[in-house]
Amino acid sequence: MSITYLEAIREAQARLLREDDRVFIYGQDVGGVFGGAFKATKGLAKEFPSRVLNTPISEDAIVGTAIGAALQGMRPIVEMQFADFSSIALNQILNQAGTHYWRTNIPVPITVRLPSGGTKGSGPFHSQSMESIYAHYPGLIVMTPATVEDAYTMLIDAVAIDDPVIYCEHKYLYYHLKADKLPDKGLPTGRGRIARQGRDLTIVTYSALVHDALAAADELSRENFEIEVVDLRTVKPLDTDTVLASVSRTGRLLAVGESFPWGGATAEVIARVTSDGFHLLDAAPVRINAKDTPIPYHPNLWSAHRPSTKLIAQKARALLKE
């Protein structure tokens, strides 16, 4: 049997609905026989008709409603149809959910699922990676699972966490990534994972680019370089200890992320390593992000816009010569 990243997300939600009657799923097209734009909730409304609910196209009100329900003891899962549209709900997520515990001492246990990242032909408004925006604001946990196993266990963990969780699931991984079976439990939330051990250079990344980084590492191993790949798993909290430990082994850092280049997760990784582990570095750290333009439609432009295996290998090769 094999299970995809997308099926893992569906299975996690099925288990959550089955085991916890506080859980409900709220979002556009998630209910009925349709089961979501990507089918991440397919069949769930049949089993749980009162807890898998279609909504109007009202991202602000969808999240506001989830917040209200969470304050009254429910554990809502919001599906944004695309991460890009969560910009409409920014106010509720950042200013309502993100401030609530700090202001009132009452946390808001909502999980917001963001189908994130680029796929060919999706263009500027169906391709965005929003993790850096959410990580910037206080009061939120930001998850970026890169594997089928993490997609499953981290979603279950997200719903158990008392604080708001932004769960960034990568659309490119939905069908590409497969596992034999689902684990019952994963690493603790907030802990990074060494996806590949190495000695010459550390690539710190997350989400779909973990796989590009691993492919680049394979390529470089044929040139006798051993690259270590750290999968952050959660962008916030950021597992600085695992990153620093890796850099202490390799002396070189390449941070790779799919969001836009100004600020963000990769900048944060480099800032922390430079600040806390400057003495560990044998060369100036390097970062790769998407280009500082909206995300293009045409596949030729799109594949040049986001970090690729080729670009990662090229930048790593240059850094190894430093």
Binding site: T65, G68, A69, N91, N95, W102, D163
Partner: protein, 347 residues
């Protein structure tokens, strides 16, 4: 079906004699209005004396509408008051000392110096803590009511306050629509105080009466004269009752004039003399008191004792908060999440 109440006439002498229990509710409401007005006058004087940081936002002229919002709610209901709802907050059960502690930044207040002035609440007791982004509380009330329905609770209602300014936000529109889609027992009380900060109605919306929007959303709608306490109690009280009984969501639009600036930093010099002469520009507290005297509901000595009592309560609450410790930066627990092991340690 859209039902629109008649706008009220001002003369108390033309009213039919209300039943004794109506008088009782009227007097109860009046005392909350009096308390609110007394408290807010005190807050203004503290602000002018430099004792309150940030700002003071009062509900002068809106007390009749506001008190009716709080007065018909009960334990288990959800209330989302807004900027000018001191009377409603008090009637719903907010202790005066919570107000004083929040304005003065006491660590013992519900917001512990982390948020101030009207941005306060006790969500655990059904009083939501508003954020400044207008319209955003509507859907939060909707979700709270859905949770109660999920748990098969009965006989609950939610009430969310808004102004005509906040009614023009996208968030408010989404909230109204989703409330009707979910058919939750919700009452929206919208107070048109004729200015969004300094912007008059003609630059805020272009429909002839905001209550006309009710039918478009699938709400039942009512218009009231917000200076008439009797009408506020009757119409808002019945809207609460109807929502509680399972009727569609209810919209009540009240007409008043904001008898203050947007906040106390604002001299409201943009309010025209013409609008100040409109019937809706009358002071609802004065009108209610006139009514009490006219109908001889209580004698002058009782009325005076109520005023003295309000002053005493306010002074006590302020005195308590003034003696309490302010928060300190180096002793603060700087955590925005409740799950300690998930803190991002770097600052």
């Amino acid at each position: 079906m859209l039902q629109t109440a008649q706008r009220g006439k001002k003369s108390p002498s033309k009213k039919a004699a209300p039943k004794p229990e109506v008088h009782e509710k009227f007097l109860e409401a009046f005392r909350w209005m009096l308390l609110s007005r007394t408290l807010e006058e005190k807050l203004v004087s503290l602000y002018r004396g430099g004792h309150i940081t940030g700002g003071v936002y009062i509900g002068k002229g809106q007390e009749a509408v506001s008190v009716a919002c709080g007065l018909f709610l009960q334990k288990g209901d959800i209330f989302a008051p807004l900027i000018r709802d001191q009377a409603g907050r008090s009637a719903f059960g907010e202790p005066l000392v919570d107000v004083a502690r929040t304005y003065l930044g006491s660590r013992q207040g519900p917001m512990r110096g982390r948020d101030g002035n009207i941005h306060r609440g006790k969500p655990g007791e059904g009083q939501l803590a508003m954020i400044s982004h207008l319209g955003a509380m509507v859907s939060v009330v909707v979700g709270s009511l859905m949770a109660k329905r999920f748990r098969s609770e009965e006989n609950f209602v939610g009430l969310s306050c808004i102004g005509e300014g906040g009614m023009q936000t996208g968030s408010f529109h989404e909230g109204m629509n989703i409330a009707a889609v979910e058919q939750v027992p919700l009452v929206i009380v919208a107070t048109n105080n004729h200015y969004a900060y300094s912007t008059p109605n003609d630059r805020e919306f272009a429909c002839s009466d905001l209550v006309e929007r009710a039918v478009g959303y699938g709400f039942e709608g009512y218009s009231i004269d917000g200076t008439d306490l009797d009408m506020c109690l009757e119409v808002i009280g019945s809207a609460v009752q109807r929502a509680r009984a399972g009727r569609p969501p209810q919209l009540v639009v009240a007409s008043v004039l904001r008898l203050s600036g947007h906040g106390e930093h604002d001299d409201a010099s943009y309010v025209t003399e013409e609008i100040k002469r409109q019937p809706f520009a009358q002071d609802c507290v004065k009108l209610a008191e006139k009514n009490i005297v006219h109908l001889q509901l209580v004698d002058a000595a009782t009325l005076q004792s109520w005023k003295d009592d309000a002053k005493k309560q306010v002074d006590e609450a302020i005195a308590i908060a003034q003696q309490e410790a302010a928060p300190e930066g180096d002793k603060e627990d700087w955590r925005a999440i409740s799950t300690s092991e998930l803190l991002d340690q770097r600052e």
